[in-house]
């Protein structure tokens, strides 16, 4: 290893671990000791990353308050140093961290709230894609409908939350007192997507969530309706399927439809 490389490794180690070895290679300034000057880098490291987390997770920050959020943020910084050149991706691992690290894992609403915010952030700058509109559907003859498959918009993602984090998110967003956190008997099924430039989310009924998941896997409309028939009233299955599909298209969650 070159001397330059060794020095950089020690400089970095001093910031990440508090090791003082590199101070032996740093000069005092005319007005200040080297410990204080090097300390500017040490302080800036943690505070910059926690600040980025505050920006990415404004409502989790609001939920926890400054002190608890910053304590959690510094724990995350220590556990998962950034490995990506773009600060945009630093807090991507936060939901997983909150799900697994004490004491945060004892409060599952925290991981859920972080997961919801992460999904909305990801939808905000997700890849572009065409937006399917209703007129495209008119191109298909009725006998083709059973074979239609759908492609979600690149910004769309679906996941489950085990807690009432969505209600907490909504209350925080509206500057209202959030409800007490509770673990739900049935998971909350969330669909996140971007409508024009605005990230959106919606809680789906269990049946609609099932249909979305299967549609996203490329299952054709006819089979989707057969699945719906096993879920609820078989006679209304096709109408329910068409209703869900109509909602997806008008809210810009789909990017393409194809027949077979």
């Amino acid at each position: 290893m070159s001397d330059f490389a060794r020095q950089q490794a020690e400089f970095q180690r001093g910031i990440l671990t508090g090791d003082d070895t590199v101070l032996g290679e740093i000069l005092d300034s005319p007005r200040e000791k080297r410990e204080t000057l090097y300390g500017v880098y040490r302080y800036a490291y943690g505070s910059r990353l926690v600040e980025a987390m505050r920006n990415d997770h404004a409502l989790l920050h609001s939920y926890l308050g400054d002190e608890m959020f910053d304590e959690m943020g510094h724990a995350y910084v220590k556990a998962r140093p950034s490995e990506h050149p773009n600060l945009r991706w630093f807090s991507q691992g936060l939901p997983e961290f909150l799900k697994s690290a004490e004491p945060y894992c004892n409060h599952p609403v925290l991981a859920d709230l972080a997961a919801l915010e992460k999904a909305l952030n990801d939808a905000f700058d997700a890849a572009e894609g065409p937006v399917l509109d209703l007129t495209a559907m008119a191109a298909f003859a009725p006998e083709q409908w059973n074979d239609l498959t759908f492609r979600p918009h690149p910004s769309a993602t679906r996941f489950d939350l085990s807690t009432n984090a969505a209600a907490v998110w909504l209350a925080l967003k509206n500057d209202e007192t959030p409800p007490d956190a509770v673990t739900l008997e049935q998971p909350s099924r969330i669909l996140v997507w971007r409508q024009d430039t605005t990230p959106m989310f919606r809680e789906l009924p269990a049946e609609e969530a099932m249909m979305w998941d299967e549609a996203a896997n490329g299952i054709p409309f006819g089979v989707l309706c057969e699945m719906l028939a096993t879920y609820d009233d078989p006679d209304g299955a096709a109408a329910r399927g068409a209703g869900y599909l109509h909602g997806w298209i008008t809210s810009a969650t789909l990017t393409a439809v194809s027949a077979g």
């Binding site: 070159s2 001397d3 330059f4 490389a5 020095q7 950089q8 490794a9 400089f11 970095q12 910031i15 990440l16 290679e25 740093i26 000069l27 300034s29 005319p30 007005r31 200040e32 080297r34 204080t36 000057l37 090097y38 500017v40 880098y41 800036a44 490291y45 910059r48 990353l49 980025a52 140093p81 950034s82 490995e83 990506h84 050149p85 773009n86 600060l87 945009r88 630093f90 939808a123 905000f124 700058d125 997700a126 890849a127 572009e128 690149p154 910004s155 971007r194 430039t197």
Partner: protein, 308 residues
């Protein structure tokens, strides 16, 4: 890592290509600009404010899609744009990050910036990124390394890059030359242009106890293509480059000295935090323009011709 395989085919004669980049024309004078910040998107798009050009933070747009890129496209239709990165990590001893470089190149293809700049610094090694502009020792070993890294990046991007002096808080005891000697030699050997951050010179000079004029006079005048003007936080014994305050009077004075030495240089106000309303920043942009106008005319009279 096979570096050569990552370079474009046009690099079949790398020395010739490298020489061509080194001899490339000096970037044009753009006038008096501002750092583009998301807080001002709507106002800029709705009112077309009298700003000559914008500098954008490259990483803020190295994204898959959505509003940031769509807005940038619209800004690029109306204003000249320069890309300014914070993660090139040109002085890192870690292997080059070609994924990052490809992202930068892709963005440049979209933006068609007047130039691409970053900082003379490193941001991490061993797979970690500290997201800071970290200092280097000014040694011949470091210089050789950075020159070769700049050449590699310029070969990859197919254009000369622009590098900025950073604010530093520490100096290494093994430095063999001054920062301005390092920058001058780096620019001469690699062909990169220089972004002279006047606030950073002021901050580093105070922190290390030298005269900022010595720094200023040590930089070759023909290599500087851009000025940054910014504010900072004074801690008494040292200054921290926070970019969250208006430009202070001492830095305005140094700007006058920089104009006298470097002549007509594209100048911009860089505010990274505590972002004020656009009008406040336009006042600072106007001040950069007025001061330049005043002193360039004076210089023209002194020398019998218009500087520039």
């Amino acid at each position: 890592m096979n570096v050569a395989s990552r370079l474009p085919n046009s690099m079949a004669a790398p020395e010739r290509a490298r020489e061509s980049i080194k001899q490339s024309d000096k970037p044009p004078f753009l006038g008096f600009g501002l750092g583009l910040r998301a807080q001002h998107y709507d106002e800029i798009l709705n009112s077309n404010p009298p700003i000559d050009w914008f500098e954008v933070i490259s990483e803020n747009y190295m994204l898959p899609g959505g509003q940031p890129l769509r807005t940038l496209d619209r800004i690029c239709e109306r204003y000249p744009v320069v890309m300014h990165g914070v993660s090139l990590s040109i002085a890192s001893t870690a292997p080059p990050n070609f994924e990052y470089l490809q992202g930068l190149k892709d963005l440049a293809r979209r933006v068609e910036p007047k130039w691409i700049s970053d900082h003379l610094c490193w941001t991490g090694v061993h797979g970690k990124n500290l997201h800071d502009l970290l200092p280097i020792p000014y040694t011949s070993e470091a210089l050789d390394h950075v020159v070769s890294r700049v050449q590699l990046v310029q070969d990859f991007l197919g254009r000369a890059i622009v590098l900025e002096n950073v604010s530093t808080y520490v100096q290494f005891n093994n430095s063999e030359m001054t920062e301005w000697e390092f920058l001058s030699e780096l620019s001469r050997r690699s062909g990169c242009w220089l972004l002279f951050d006047i606030n950073n010179v002021y901050v580093s000079a105070f922190n290390h106890g030298y005269d900022p004029m010595t720094f200023l006079n040590g930089i070759p005048a023909d290599r500087v293509v851009q000025f940054h003007m910014a504010g900072h936080s004074h801690m008494g014994t040292h200054i921290i480059d926070t970019h969250d305050h208006p430009v202070c009077e001492d830095v305005w004075d140094l700007y006058v000295a920089a104009i006298k030495r470097f002549g007509r240089v594209s100048t911009m106000i860089e505010r990274d935090d505590n972002i004020p309303p656009l009008d406040e920043l336009i006042l600072e942009v106007n001040r950069t323009r007025e001061i330049a106008g005043e002193f360039l005319v004076q210089l023209g009279k002194d020398s019998g011709k218009q500087a520039g």
